[in-house]
């Protein structure tokens, strides 16, 4: 995973306010790095480089330590995410039932690879492994909503309907 090269306009747009508040609320607690990262991610949708730098300065954790924590836990994102998140399951059952075709269809439609976000930040496409709904295979979760027995046409339609 590489850190997103923050575009200049994003950098200028980074609003320290929310993080400032979060850091203040944790200022008495030493070593509260995971909750700080979680709250920062809630505030910004991901962990922007500027946020990591600010957290490092205020907590004394090195940049490398923060990066280590952020890449150790899959709950953290270092790249800005799309407004919509599509999780296509490619677990065993879904795979057998044609999940790879769903993935390639969406990759072509969106012009991005699985794991990436469209340049306009509309959609993030992710592949996950078994969401425990094998009876619905092949299935996907779009913005938290479960869709089962998908075929390429159906998944395309769902994605095109996203704003």
């Amino acid at each position: 995973m590489v850190l997103e090269q923050t575009k200049t306009e994003d950098r200028a747009a980074f609003d320290e306010g929310p993080l400032e508040e979060i850091l203040d609320s944790f200022s008495a607690q030493e070593g509260a790095v995971i909750p700080i990262l979680q709250r920062a991610q809630q505030a910004y949708g991901y962990l922007p480089e500027e946020a990591l730098r600010m957290i490092s300065k205020r907590t004394g954790f090195s940049l490398a330590q923060l990066y280590g924590v952020a890449t150790f836990y899959s709950q953290f994102y270092l790249q800005r995410r799309g407004r919509h998140v599509i999780n296509i399951c490619d677990g065993t059952a879904c795979h057998v039932k044609g999940a790879p075709r769903l993935v390639t269809t969406l990759e072509e439609e969106l012009g991005i690879k699985a794991g990436e976000t469209s340049p306009d930040y509309r959609v993030t496409l992710e592949v996950v492994y078994c969401l425990g709904s094998c009876a619905l295979a092949p299935m996907a979760v779009i913005d938290g909503q479960v869709y089962g027995r998908l075929v390429p046409e159906k998944v395309l339609k769902l994605v095109r309907e996203l704003d």
Binding site: M1, V2, K57, G60, L63, A64, Y67, T71
Partner: protein, 564 residues
């Protein structure tokens, strides 16, 4: 602490409670193999090579982290232990590229040594192929992640000893990779090229550019010596192959640096690009010619003899006590100067830096000068939570460690803070000395660590070089430079105005701008003598290479001979 009794491989011993099994085994004289463990840093139990069998424990335990308890019975060589260690080695060899015959570390590698010891003669699992890009973005050494065993020694020394906190680990499990900062190329990171990680890496993952493939550990000699790069006076181990120093390492047993070095001591000498002076050089107008010895020494003798008492001798920090004494007795009654005089009102030792709860650094950038002292400040801030106040404006490499920056005018604020600290230490260079003195005199608990450029500055002061050179006029000015490269422009300008300048130096630059004659001088690798380190103890500079360049004593002798 009260002792506890443990039995290790059938030997019962008493060890202090709180010891680890590894420490207890060492007390009992039993060797337990280790890999991620390193004596200079805290154990973390990452590699599992040190697994031992502890009775009443279900699983094998890592000796380096497992604490002893009373009545504990430990087996370090049982069949189970040996089998587990072999398994761990198999896994380590299977994870990344350990085709030893193509590795520069082969023959000196701690991992390879263990493989021989445990008779690993084949790969039990996958044969790994390199999958990670080599990071060669750093000037002095290269990182090959494919040979990394994730022991984290490098991360820990950078954090615990250097206090820099550059290195870390991304991802997890077998995908973990050593990173710098936010996963940027090492050469673009906050790395200060101290090379401590390089020195502790047990495998071929970190590779020194200058000494790579120049000799394995049983083909080299190690000579303990001293760095003359600055007044910290770090203890070094010169790694020598066939009469050449191929690498410099920090001496773990030496005070005040305890194994650490900075880029000046570790890498600069190996990456020297200036032209060496091996024969006397004489200026003829704008050109230089290599003079035969007699002519050059004769010319110097003539000028010195004609100058009478009007001879000024200026020394750099690369002059040993013995050399200074030889100069003193040869040119008695004349004036002796140093580039810059060290401050003598120093009350803090380097050990005090490691106990300070407040550092006040006045008008000095410890990331550029006296770096090993800077590391003590950084680790104090990172590891002990000490505070750092920087006094003075301008860029400062320690700004990220500082909790406060104040201008020279705000000393009252600093003094107030120092008064509420328990063990404040003020660190200064020549520029900040007045401010430092002001603080120390107002705060009874404060001690002062002052540094001035020049490796052996204090020694030279003791030997009578008690004045700062300010361009004083003399008929002959003798500069004893050694290998110094950091020369202030002001000094060169002052020398340009002198009638006749003789420079005794290891390298031609920058002296060819100002000298009339340049005489050769051995480097600190080529001579033996005494230097005074931080805290005032003597350190021995020990010759690790032979040279045909005459010693300073011999040069003085030849000039004296020619005068007669």
């Amino acid at each position: 602490m009260p002792d506890v009794h443990v039995t290790i491989d059938g030997t019962e011993i008493a060890v202090p409670s709180g010891s680890t099994v590894l420490e207890a085994a060492r007390i009992a004289g039993i060797e337990v193999d280790t890999l991620c463990d390193h004596p200079a840093i805290e154990p973390i139990g990452a590699c599992r090579i040190c697994l031992v069998e502890v009775e009443k424990q279900r699983a094998l335990q890592p000796a380096c982290t497992f604490p002893v308890s009373d009545g504990m019975v430990v087996h370090t060589r049982s069949e189970k232990v040996v089998g587990a260690r072999k398994f761990v080695l198999q896994l380590l060899f299977s994870e990344r590229n350990h085709f030893c015959m193509f590795c520069q570390m082969s023959g000196s590698c701690e991992l390879q040594n263990l493989a021989y010891k445990y008779e690993l003669d084949h790969w039990q699992f996958n044969r790994p192929m390199p999958t990670y890009a080599v990071d060669a973005s750093r000037e002095y050494f290269v990182m090959d992640h494919n040979r990394c065993i994730l022991c984290r020694r490098c991360i820990r020394v950078c954090d615990e000893l250097v206090g820099n906190g550059t290195l870390g680990l991304k991802n997890r499990g077998a995908d973990a990779v050593i990173i710098a900062d936010l996963d940027v190329p090492f050469g673009e990171s906050s790395c200060i090229s101290c090379g401590t990680c390089l020195q502790v890496c047990p495998t071929g993952a970190l590779m020194d550019r200058a000494s790579a493939y120049m000799g394995a550990s049983d083909q080299v000699e190690r000579v303990k010596s001293r760095c003359m790069g600055c007044p910290v006076g770090c203890g070094t181990e010169l790694v020598v192959r066939d009469g050449q120093v191929i690498r410099v390492e920090g001496d773990w047993d030496a005070e005040p640096n305890k194994g650490l070095l900075c880029v000046v001591g570790r890498f600069d000498p190996q990456h020297e690009v200036r032209e060496r002076v091996r024969k006397p050089l004489v200026r003829q107008g704008d050109a230089w010619s290599i003079a035969d010895g007699e002519a050059a020494y004769g010319l110097v003798a003539e000028k010195v003899a004609a100058a009478g008492d009007s001879v000024a001798t200026v020394a750099s920090g690369f002059v040993t006590l013995e050399e200074a004494q030889a100069l003193g007795s040869a040119v008695r009654g004349r004036k002796f100067y140093m580039y810059d005089l060290p401050q003598t009102d120093r009350t803090a030792t380097m050990a005090d830096l490691d106990e300070a709860d407040l550092f006040i650094v006045t008008e000095m950038d410890l990331s550029l000068d006296f770096q090993v002292a800077g590391m003590a400040v950084k680790r104090g801030v990172r590891k002990r939570g000490a505070r750092l106040i920087l006094v003075g404006e301008g860029e400062n490499g320690l700004a990220d460690w500082a909790s406060m920056r104040v201008g020279r005018a705000d000393l009252a604020k600093v003094i107030a803070m120092a008064k509420s600290a328990e063990r404040p230490v003020v660190v200064s260079g020549p520029a900040g000395l007045a401010a430092a003195r002001e603080i120390v005199s107002a705060v009874p608990a404060a001690s002062l660590a002052s540094f001035a450029p020049g490796g052996n500055g204090r020694g030279l002061c003791d030997a009578g070089f008690g004045q700062t050179y300010a361009g004083d006029a003399a008929k002959v000015t003798v500069v004893v430079a050694g290998e110094t490269s950091q020369v202030e422009p002001g000094l060169l300008d002052a020398l340009k105005k002198q009638e006749f300048v003789v420079v005794v130096a290891s390298y031609r630059e920058p002296w060819d701008q100002v000298a009339d004659v340049i005489l050769p001088m051995p480097t600190a690798f080529e001579k033996s003598g005494t230097t005074v380190c931080a805290d005032g103890q003597a350190g021995q500079v020990v010759a690790a290479m032979s040279t045909r360049v005459p010693t300073l004593e011999a040069t003085i002798g030849m000039v004296a001979e020619a005068i007669r």
